[in-house]
Symmetry: C2
Subunit: 282 residues, 2 copies
Amino acid sequence: MKLILDRDLCFFDIEATGLNVVRDRIVQIAIIKYFKDGREPQELSLMINPGIPISLEAILVHGIQPKDVANKPTFQQLAQKIWDFIGNADLAGYNSNRFDIPMLMEEFARVGMEFDVTKRRSIDVQRIFYKMEPRTLKAALKFYCEKEHEDAHDAMADVRATIDVFKGQLDKYEGVDYLDEDGVRVEAPIKNDVQVLHEFTNDNRFVDATQKLRADVNGDIVFNFGKYVGKPVGETLYEDRQYYNWILNKEFTSQVKQMVKKLVREYEKGLKAKEKENGNNE
Amino acid sequence: MKLILDRDLCFFDIEATGLNVVRDRIVQIAIIKYFKDGREPQELSLMINPGIPISLEAILVHGIQPKDVANKPTFQQLAQKIWDFIGNADLAGYNSNRFDIPMLMEEFARVGMEFDVTKRRSIDVQRIFYKMEPRTLKAALKFYCEKEHEDAHDAMADVRATIDVFKGQLDKYEGVDYLDEDGVRVEAPIKNDVQVLHEFTNDNRFVDATQKLRADVNGDIVFNFGKYVGKPVGETLYEDRQYYNWILNKEFTSQVKQMVKKLVREYEKGLKAKEKENGNNE
DNA sequence: TCATCG
């Protein structure tokens, strides 16, 4: 398979201190450059001192520890070298549209170099995967049951397909482990047990379907939108009744409204219980 | 494959007037109820008059036209029947966490019935698919190349894997059509051609990686966040310089800042050109 | 989050 190019093309990948493309920094970059004239591709691989801590999650992913980059050059010192190596090449990577390209742009911007991507093309290999291998109900039926979904989008036919898929999953994943997003192995999570599957398929970080509310690290329900993002719902809306009424009248799901009412009620109750206790103690 | 249940379990699916769980309405619901005592599952299938128009996109998906439901009962009239059929069962569906369950809750809420999901469990079959079949680089290498990705998250090993995957994709998808999100067939979009793949993997609706900006139906770049969501960036920030400065100083990617500056500059230029023209005409 | 749900 020979690539047909009218311009050089750089495949590249970044390892970083974390996932935030603005706040986090590069600790390793690797580039393989394909030339339009067809000559042998050229490689560049660099370790970089990020100048900020490497998050524990990131270390667990790529294994690069602070001591591994402590004596390496900074991005500032390597910027020109990377810039020249890439030249005016097009770019390619895995999930590079959302991660590698914007993070590289940030690094260049911080050292005063404007890495112009409007004049380059880019191929995100992950996007090809996502688009060409959809995960619709139809695709699921084919994947798990090797069946064509003939009457798709008739409600009863879809329910039947869903049940087939579900049974196929119980079968296929018997004894199969799950690797979670942090790479932690969960032993055989797919069991013929509703409680287990309820927990597995309901992301407890998000507590409502539209993801307007979520649980923070302490398990408190906080806003995931608007001016109070990250603030606890119960306390905040108890204080700001105007915002409370605004939410109840606005186009939020009844699930959100139900939860909001409940949280304020519970906060109020907790407050009264405390007051009473204080009164008793005096 | 026999389901082990400690409570009845309703698999269900909804066809609707559109995708918005708050604004849209159910036109068809199908439910298959499994009983904890193991007796034969029971089915319910209903056509419902939604009382609002069915969007064209929805009709193209499920084929249910206004005339098909014009003489059917409304949700109000069927609510009790659906409520009783489901009883206190647990729920299951395909993408039901994000679609079917919240939409059903909305319908019940509108007729004054609070369908309590905090006391039920739910299984989203799509979530099992997503979690057990991830689309990481490692998974891609296995899928396209039948290879194990041994040295995952070493940057150079990841670049090599990305190239392998990419070549595997060029191979696998030669002559394979793509069905886009509206079900429109695109003929063999995966070609050994950077320009073609650039267009295929870069969603032209979103113009920056963090999706803070996007193109509207006219192709104008508009805000996708904050108080000016949907408004044209250039004009809006030319008028509101304070917001402009706020963006440039806030934690947005350099890509966003670059675009914002460019859009304001262009708007200003267009304005001056118009003024000059008007001057000439007088 | 992304895609997927209609």
